[in-house]
Amino acid sequence: MNCTTCKPTVGEGENGREKFPGPTTNACKLCTPLGACLAYKGIAGTVPFLHGSQGCATYIRRYLISHFREPMDIAASNFAEHSAVFGGRDVLHTGLANVATQYSPELIGVATTCLSETIGENMPQLLREYRERKDVPHDAALVQVSTPSFKGTHVDGYHTAVRGLTETLATGTGEHNGPVALFPGFVSAEDLRHLKEVFAAYEAPLTLVPDYSETMDGGSWAAYERIPTGGTPVGDVRALGSARAAIECGRVLAGESRTAGTLLGKNFSVPLHRLGLPIGLRETDQLTAVLGALTGREMPKEVAAARGRLIDAMVDGHKYVFGQRAVVYGDEDLVIGLVSFLCEIGVTPVLCASGGRSRRFEKTLRAAVPELPAETVIREGADFASIGAEAETLKADLLLGNSKGYSLARRLEIPLVRCGFPIHDRIGGHRLLHLGYRGALGLYDLVVNALLERKQDTSSIGYAYL
């Protein structure tokens, strides 16, 4: 799209607080309940349930389906005018009962919306009343989180649901001999599969929360699956209190005081390792170091081999990428991982932008990637209008981020390396691997080849041998 006249909105005042918050043009974020729904999809036998208007569920379903290309049932209490005026108790109860009847879920993951939050629904009370009713099914566990869309982004919704699951379900035995709890962050289905492989290589038993690697990327069905198979068993979430350790990925997330990881520490004294998303060499090294320490093992052969191949590839292509100027956008923690990786290979990130607004994005990014040039522009609370305006003046060579940057790439006539979420204009976005040495190698190939392709396409000679 050609929003050439879009300019960044009014500047920020002290402490990053806007004096005059402008409108958002082409948001670089989604709403909080979306993240909660995806997190719930990673728990076995779970149906996400939004307390609010049905449109929220329908829009979020469509948005997730377009990325994952998998069924995505999200129930809603389907507010009508009556419920907005007198409260949504009845529709919540009816809705939960209907979901229990139709899906026979093990767990219903309830999340609020801006509507139910604004009318001040007392969710714990409403759920307590549901549990006390004799005329409704009670086989499913209920988890409830508060996810008003006027507070935070889809990433916050995701982490809130992960925390809510842990807070509601986890119990302890006093011992810490259980599988390692891994809270991976908002990553792809392929990323989740790879994390399991890496842990398996270390022979480290693992509880991944959430794990939608199968529920959101499963095989073709022989029979209809009301709730797609896969996901972390509810029992495993319940047992998190006896995890021998917890690992939580995301450096911005690490600045949060109340997370699933901190909760396990506080309630059950589970030791917590807070890392970045393991993107690129250094961030993955941090993860493998923790795994080595937890298991007392050397780096397994296959992991070491992948690491070796990554470094070898970085050498092979280093001249193609050196000094190329990149614009990176997306979820804050994803951007931090990608920027760290780009700096390892010699690409210069000139603009790092996120629609998230943690108030610590720049500080966290600079701490994670100390070699990042001082002149690199870092923006939180960005939208695509502001990203586009800045990218133009910064003379970028490529974009890294989700498919929503395509119109910008088209306008600037530079390649877009698609990663993160959503990827709505290619197949297999959910199968893209970002994490680990192997993920870095894949990203590396994508970046180098995008640049080579551009070089070829814009050359008058067009060599077939590069």
Partner: protein, 484 residues
Amino acid sequence: MNTTSTVPAGGRSYETTALQSSSLSAVIEVLPGRASSISLAGEVGGVGAAMVCDKHSLAGSVTQRACVFCGSRVVLYPIADALHVVHGPIGCAAYTWDIRGAQSSGPQLHRNSFSTDLQELDVIFGGEKKLERALMELIDRHEPKAAFVYSTCIVGVIGDDVGAVCKRVAAAKGIPVLSVASEGFKGTKKDGYRAACEAVYTLIGTGQISGIGPLSINLLGDFNIAGETWIVREYFERMGIEVVATITGDGRVDDIRRCHGAKLNLVQCAGSMTHLAKKMKEEHGIPFLKVSFFGFEDMAAALYDTAKHFADEALMEKAKVVVHDELSRFYPQLRVYKEKLIGKKAAIYVGGAFKAFSLVRALRTLGMTTALVGTQTGDKEDYAQLREMCDPGTVIVDDSNPLELAKFCLEKDVDLFIGGVKERPIAYKLGIGFCDHNHERKEALAGFVGMFNFAREVHASCCSPVWNYVPRRAARTAAIGGAR
């Protein structure tokens, strides 16, 4: 025939094959509150004419419907030189950013997503100031011909007077700034259509109508998905009919302002635009015809009906020429596909009933039968008509959900599903071909060429070799002796 499937704890999966279909209804239960919204064509007794529809979705039913906001947004979205500002938290704007195939021959402003992106403090203290500032800033930046302001769920709850803000901004900027009462929970998607029609209506009658001839029409309810409005418009222009305004496909504010000068309104998406047509009939005396541009039969009927309306023999002759030319071009090509598709069974689940009628006929043109047909927004008359036009035994369903749709697809053992993105994975997971007939598609399916495109797409999906390898279909193929 036994398929093996692992049944996990909790019985979430179950065994099924096409040949066991009679036992399926026992497996996926229809919710008691939903049973009265499902009927069968040719059924004696049962739900029949008493079919319940046109009501709010049952809580927890995972309806395929969206909300009031969605209804307004889809109708107004294609007006390309207007500013569309979504007043609320970010979700509603983010999910409707440039997803539709509604094309514009000029400005592309409609493909942006503008939001006031309300935050917690705005919710506490009210969003009026933020909205006003946003409108002022965006109007200065983009210089639109008009602005639409969509209210989302919480706007009414926090008490913003959107109408007053619109008035102030309109006065300051000298363009129409129209409030669209589209709070998500205040009704169904249909109420959103109505709110959109009300907003559009305020523009009508404010432009110059001099120079508009006697053979003139407006096209209502075509949204120019993949250029469909252009295809259809060209047929009418070949007949010598002037198209004053296309509402809202490739829509322009100035055209809408003067569209009351046209002598006839053609309403294609009856569900969304009949309200506007009725208002224009009452206030401006413009008659309207309900038409459909999908399928050879319906497209030809639309041209003939228009000619008949103007009671002009020469016009009817021209209509015949258009139909003849188009059919001689596309029918032979279509027959190639038809040969491969004869006897296949389809399920239809779409937004509006008029599209469903057309699709039932279009499938017949391809030699296919309709085994299941449902809509999100049909009314009693619509369903009565569906019951009449469909073969006996066809399942007819209002406001369905994934479980019901899967149940009926399996019971009826369909080869094709026609729906939108939300229905696609249901079809694909069960090894069923799929044709996207929703607004997100990028293929033109209207007009004669559109029918050909439809045939090509249905053929491409139904006749793909991939179905030989999906487990459910492979089992079926084995069961019937590999005949397929």
